[in-house]
Each structure stands twice: as structure tokens, then as C-alpha cells.
Amino acid sequence: MGEFLSLREAVARYVEDGQTVALEGFTHLIPFAAGHEIIRQGRRDLTVVRLTPDLIYDQLIGAGCVRKLIFGWGGNPGVGSLHRMRDAVENQHPCPIEVEEHSHAGLAERWRAGAAGLPFGVLRGYVGTSLADHTKTIASISCPFTGEELTAVPAIHPDVGIIHAQQADRDGNVMYWGITGVQKECVLASRHSIVTVEEVVDEFAVRTGGVVLPAWAVDAVAVVPGGPHPSYAHDYSDRDNDFYASWDPIARNRDAFANWLAGVTGEAS
């Protein structure tokens, strides 16, 4: 219902241990502040879903919140690896994680099917690759009219979908623009949703490509200016490319990461 809550309240109310949670935002509007709040609240055993895990899931994985990762591309864009993710996959540190791996096109179709209330989606994908050998959620399906074989993937229905938007209005409607990613699908496919926003405005301005989510399709709205840092909010902030570069040495080293984590949880050593 577009209820205004603090980020702390919103995460406390909707995110529980063992749930499937998605924090989406395709390289833009990534809801980092919400991810940090999940870390602070000590959630565990989460199944997390994202097209591109990016630093936000590297941080959640490193903090030990994650039991399973569903993803498409797990790198630090333009920099290199996600070392916390690699440490978990390669060395089971800080805990083993299960990986369910798709392509972006496949995950996007899973989001579409989820938003559309269908149990599965269909695409021309994965054919001839090794992905289907290792990912159980890839199946074959025949066209009932032509007999052609295509690929089916199951819908995603997280317990909680979390995104960041530029603006909410006073009724709790939400608007975002720029690169709009799969956020609408994430919110609509999820049982509950939280949207962090840069600010509350009296009225939305005219925006080419602006996406509006009506208040009744969103559970909670939390005002968190700068919530996507080091990602960015088009027309509000720039991507902090330096932070992305500086993350590499932090994430490579377990102690450096622990130190960073203490800064987030307020337990600085």
C-alpha cells in the first residue's frame, strides 16, 4: 500500500531468515542501503536473486547472509571478480553457498513470468551451452502449433523484492527513470516489496521513459537519499567508480572485508 516506513522498520517487517529475497537494479539504482540494513539485522540463509550480483551480493555473501545465489553475471563491472562470492564458491567461506546459474535473458524471462503470474516463461536460450547440464531450472518445451523446441524456465516469486527509485509522491506512488532494468518485474513478482527513494515530491514531473508503480502495488516506501551508492540514481548522483575499484582489494582479503563489514554493522574494531 505504499506505506512510508523507515528502512529499518521495512526490512524488519518483511525480510526473514530463510526467505527468497531480490534486490534488483540493472547496474543503476542498486539498493545498496537496503542490502546493508539486511546485513545489520543479521539475516541468514537467504536465497538471493539478481541478474548481476554486483558488489551488493558480494557484501551479503561475505557477511554470511546467503545460502543460495540465483544469478546471471557475477563480476565487479569493469574491475574484475567478486572475491567474496568466489571465496564462498571456491572455499565455502564464510559458509557454503548453492549457486543456480542462468543467463541474463533467462533470468529476465523468469522475472517476466513471475510478474505475469505464469509458472514458467519461454525463450530461445541456453541451446548448445553447458548451463542446462548444471542448472535444473532449465527445461525443454515444444510449441503446440509448430512442434519447434524451445527453452522453458520457471517463474521467480521472491518473498521480498527490494528496489531503489528516484521519487515517491505523498500517496506512496513510486517513479524511476534512466536505465529501468527489471525492477518493475521484481516488485510485481514478489510477495512483498520495499522501495527506497531519493526523495518525496508533491507531484511527478514529466519524464521520458519514467516508470510509475502505483502505491497499492508496493508494500513499503523508505526515504533513503543516496541509497544506491556506490551505484547511482540518474539525475541525482553519479556512479562512484572509485569505490568499485577500491572494492577489489577489500573483497580479496578476508580481514579487509571484516573491517569493512564492521563499519556497516557499527561494530568497528
Binding site: H28, E101, S103, S130, I179, K184, D238
Partner: protein
Amino acid sequence: MSSCRQNGQWTSDEMMAVAAARELGDGVVCFVGIGLPSTAANLARRMHAPNAVLIYESGCIGSRPDRLPASIGDGVLSETAVANVGVVEIFSYWLQAGRIDVGFLGAAQIDRFANINTTVIGAYDTPSVRLPGAGGAPEIAANCGEVIITLPHSRRAFVEELDFVTSLGHGTGSGHREQLGLRGRGPSAVISDLCVLRPDPVTKELTLTSVHPGVSVDDVRSATGWELAVAEDLGTTPPPASEELAELRELKAAS
């Protein structure tokens, strides 16, 4: 590989970017991967292919960035685009529908049939190196009219056998893509910092067709993990023209 050649006039990375850019024809519609493909595609657009349409999987159609985007989600891509759409739409209505002439991809590893691995080195469940994974590449490789691949040359990259096929090139060779029902024709060129490889018209095996200036066939062979086929009419890649170099450096400096 040294990245400096020709008395410091240009680097091998610059040669690679220029050679890759030359592959892109004017007016083609190109689905662009981030990194080197994006550099090459934008260089092409500013040189001989002003009417090339660049599409990014972040949903930006017809972007004309005046600097190199830092990531696939750089705001400059959406600000300069003719149209911006969501990620579901870019993959389904634009890529999957067969509307894209050329897919421009990078790779971590490649084999002799231009199949790509960007997923794991070693066993999938106990990898020695966990790479980033698929991203948009499998469907770009499947659904574009043709595919251009660009990556630096080394034995770790050009391997006899892939541990994981993330994106299909020519599969096991001649006829394999058709047999799988893929509509795109697959990789048409692989551009490295040493050379240009093209699939043999019949067998589809990558064949050395052009070495970059100052590179010998043996240089390429020793950096390639399989018994390399060499074209009878092997050529030498024209060196970067001063205009190409100037434009490339300007693009990079602006970033």
C-alpha cells in the same frame, strides 16, 4: 605479450581495438558487450560506421556516447539513446526476435570453434577459478546474425578444450548450429591483440587469416592452445591509421 610495439607508436591493445572496430560495417545494428567490444564499437561508430546502431543489454537502443561507458549501465548510454526499454524487452523484442545484425562479445576462454567460456575453470562444482558467468552472452551468441569476438591472445585463453561452454560458437563444427536450430550464423571473426582468426567456410574451425604488424605466425601458434590452422592467403593487418589512433585515444581520455 608486450603491450608496446612499433617504437611506441601504438600498443597491441590499440591494434586489437582498431582491428575489432574495422569488423563493424556501417549501418549495422550491433548488440554490444561491455569492455573491449564497447570500445571497438564506439570507435567504429566514430570512424567508418557513423550509422551503426549500438544496443546495450541495459535497454539502451542507438546510444551515441561521447566517452567510453564505465559499465553497461552507465547513464551516458541511456541519455544518448534513441530509445530506452527495460531488460525484459531488450532481450525478447530486440535480441531474441532476430533483429540484431552483429553481436560483439568478449571472452575469457575460447576454443577452435569459437565456443566461449566465461563461467568456470576446472570442475563446475569445485572450480579452480570461478569466472563471472554468462550475462547476456549465450543469447547474443545464439540470436544475432553474426558474432564478433575480441579477447587478448594467450594459451590460457585460446584452449584445446573448454571446461564449460557458456556461449555457443560453431559447436563441434560444420552444421552444428543449424542442427540445434539456431538462427544466427555464429562467430564470423575473432580479433586478438596478435591476429585475426576467421572460421573456415566449410569446417568452421578458426583459421589464422591475418597477423597484426610485427607478429609472426609462430608468435600466434605459441599463444594458442591448439594446433592452429593458417590460411593460405595469410595477410598482415593494416596498422592503426593515425586517425583511428587519435579517435581511440580521445574516446579513452574522455572516460
